[in-house]
């Protein structure tokens, strides 16, 4: 078995030094073993474990009495879950759209031979180095109606200025969008700026010689060539959106009531504080489904694209 698996280089070694072969041959596998174990147990094993739990009636402790799809049925009849899902829809789409818009705009603007580009880039990207908990704490202070931006504007003379989204159950989700965009849009900028710098300079020169304006060059030539960057950004942003948990905890704690819960917060609350392990697991599986729905087509097209290039 083992010899079959070795490649031609090690066969050469075999001819020269047969005694050394077996250990040298096994070494890579031995070295990789701990990580393999981790992947099999802690990623795939746990995933299956959670999937199993989602089909049981587990409450405070895991039990293995199977109840079929009951937990999923309860989940989708649960008002709080539906609020969390709706919030994810609103939060996710606005967050992604605004981040993409701002990120692409900033990247193109910075690409115009700007003075102090380095400093500006540093400023746009630094929120990405901060934890969502700190971001949430900062924006909680900025957005609170009694002392925050609302008061600032009123004191500046705009007496009827109203900005109390943080305490408005119907608007609080937009507060999450503002804080998350603040944190992540610089990242999109960095991705696109790297992409723009990689575009073939001759292509741009040729377009200019043909009399294309800067705007047309970007719209017709440069941006279309950045399609892969666009899709990476899209996938990463949706990934951030679906996994969002910390920001809600710090900024709104799910409130007012549970009007700003996201699925991750629902999962945490039901599993760890409400002793509804079965339903918590079901919600985790739905989250996994969302991520896979985005990731699998993306990875598939990436892999296929790679093969075509070869």
């Amino acid at each position: 078995m083992n010899t079959n698996a070795t490649n031609s280089e090690s066969k050469k070694t075999q001819l020269g030094r047969p005694a050394r072969l077996s250990l040298a041959d096994w070494m890579p596998k031995i070295v990789l073993a701990p990580t393999m174990l981790i992947a099999i147990v802690c990623i795939y094993g746990y995933m299956i474990w959670t999937a199993v739990l989602s089909f049981t009636g587990s409450r405070m402790l895991p039990s293995y009495k199977f109840v079929g799809w009951d937990q999923y049925e309860r989940l989708f009849n649960n008002d709080r879950w539906m609020v969390a899902l709706t919030n994810l829809g609103i939060f996710g789409s606005l967050f992604i759209l605004i981040c993409l818009f701002l990120g692409i705009m900033l990247a193109i603007f910075l690409d115009q031979k700007i003075r102090a580009e380095g400093a500006l880039r540093t400023i746009y990207l630094y929120p990405m180095a901060i934890s969502f908990i700190v971001t949430g704490t900062a924006w909680k202070w900025l957005l609170n109606p009694t002392n925050g931006i609302q008061k600032l504007m009123i004191d500046m003379g705009f007496e009827n200025f109203k900005f109390d989204w943080l305490t408005d159950p119907h608007r609080v989700v937009y507060c999450l969008v503002i804080a998350a965009v603040w944190q992540a849009s610089g990242f999109v900028m960095a991705l696109f700026l790297a992409g723009l710098r990689g575009v073939d300079g001759d292509l741009i020169k040729a377009a200019h010689l043909d009399g294309a304006s800067t705007f047309t060059t970007y719209r017709r030539i440069i941006l279309p060539s950045l399609k892969p960057v666009f899709f990476s950004a899209l996938v990463i942003l949706s990934h951030i959106a679906i996994k969002s948990f910390d920001l809600v905890q710090a900024l709104t704690n799910g409130g007012p009531g549970y009007s700003s819960d996201l699925p991750a917060n629902f999962m945490y609350t039901y599993t760890f504080t409400r002793s509804q392990i079965g339903m918590g697991s079901a919600s985790a599986m739905v989250m996994l489904g969302c991520i896979l729905a985005i990731l699998v087509p993306y990875l598939y097209s990436e892999l296929r694209g790679g093969r075509n290039e070869k």
Binding site: V31, L32, L125, T137, G148, I242
Partner: protein, 294 residues
């Protein structure tokens, strides 16, 4: 003449456009900087000024009381030790977790790109998925496992968790980096009788400095900023600083003290901000490396 006039006109338009461009860029810079500036201003005010002033009103003089309180006196939940013990906890978690996951990632990447065996590519693909699963699907089983291992609610447990779920990323980084090393190098070394570890130690590691820096910075930022694992798996005295900060901010003991909250938030963010300021280039490289092959 006519040509000249057109040229002058376009340059005029261009000037206006360029001004607008700078204006937009500066306004955006203001948007990104404002929260940090306001945090800083607020943390330097006393309670009176916080209540009566606005976000942008400056403190009458610099009060560092809220910083002292945030560090060593503020109440998080039921204890009033400030966030300093938790700040130290974070280091106790981050340092071993970063070291172990980076080392594992380096050696995994070395195997996967230079010692390929049947199934190693498949394994890498399978591991890659580990970068992307929502950690909610592993929370409960991991909580049980930590209990069985006897490391629940300890910093050791958190180190373990961060290594387990960090190694997929570190392997990805090193694998992508080592892909560019020619296989002939390893082949030649093997013919000269160098073994698996000798090649790694003498040939591969010396050229790995850039990717080690990128990985260490990436892992440091990720683990320092983690909240989910911290809140799910830490005990009372093993909380990382993010969890303590959240508790501090949400403790309604004796009225809100926004200046203390802000000081605590800045302290909690300081290590990663410092890393970013001094090694931003590598941080960005980590971000985009994760993205490009994501």
């Amino acid at each position: 003449m006519k040509n000249n006039a057109i040229a002058r006109k376009t340059s005029g338009v261009e000037k206006v456009l360029r001004l607008a461009l700078y204006a937009v860029l500066l306004i955006m810079a203001f948007f990104y900087l404002m929260p940090l500036v306001i945090m800083l201003i607020t943390s330097l005010k006393d309670a009176e000024e916080v209540r009566n002033g606005t976000l942008l009103s400056l403190p009458s003089y610099l009060h560092f009381d809220s910083w002292t309180k945030a560090w060593s006196g503020a109440c998080t939940g039921s204890t009033c030790t400030g966030i300093s013990p938790y700040f130290i906890n974070s280091f106790k978690i981050v340092i071993p977790a970063v070291a172990i996951s980076t080392l594992l990632g380096a050696i995994n990447g070395y195997v996967i790109s230079l010692w390929k065996f049947r199934g190693s590519d498949l394994f890498f693909a399978a591991l890659l998925l580990g970068c992307f699963i929502p950690f909610q699907v592993v929370l409960l089983p991991m909580a049980q496992t930590l209990g069985w291992l006897g490391i629940a609610s300890s910093t050791t447990g958190l180190v373990f968790v961060h290594v387990v779920y960090g190694v997929a990323f570190t392997t990805l980084f090193f694998r992508n980096f080592y892909q560019s090393i020619p296989g002939e190098l390893v082949k030649a070394a093997r013919l000269d009788g160098a073994g698996f570890f000798t090649i790694f130690y003498r040939i591969i590691l010396p050229v790995s400095t850039p990717i080690i820096v990128v990985t260490v910075i990436w892992q440091f930022t990720q683990i320092w900023n983690d909240f989910l694992f911290g809140v799910a798996f830490s005990g009372f005295d093993s909380q990382p600083v993010t969890v303590a900060l959240n508790n501090l901010v949400n403790t309604s003991f004796g009225g809100k003290e926004y200046n203390v909250d802000m000081a605590a938030a800045i302290i909690a963010a300081l290590p990663t901000i410092i890393v970013y300021v001094f090694a931003g280039k590598y941080f960005v490289r980590g971000l985009t490396a994760g993205a490009v092959k994501g």
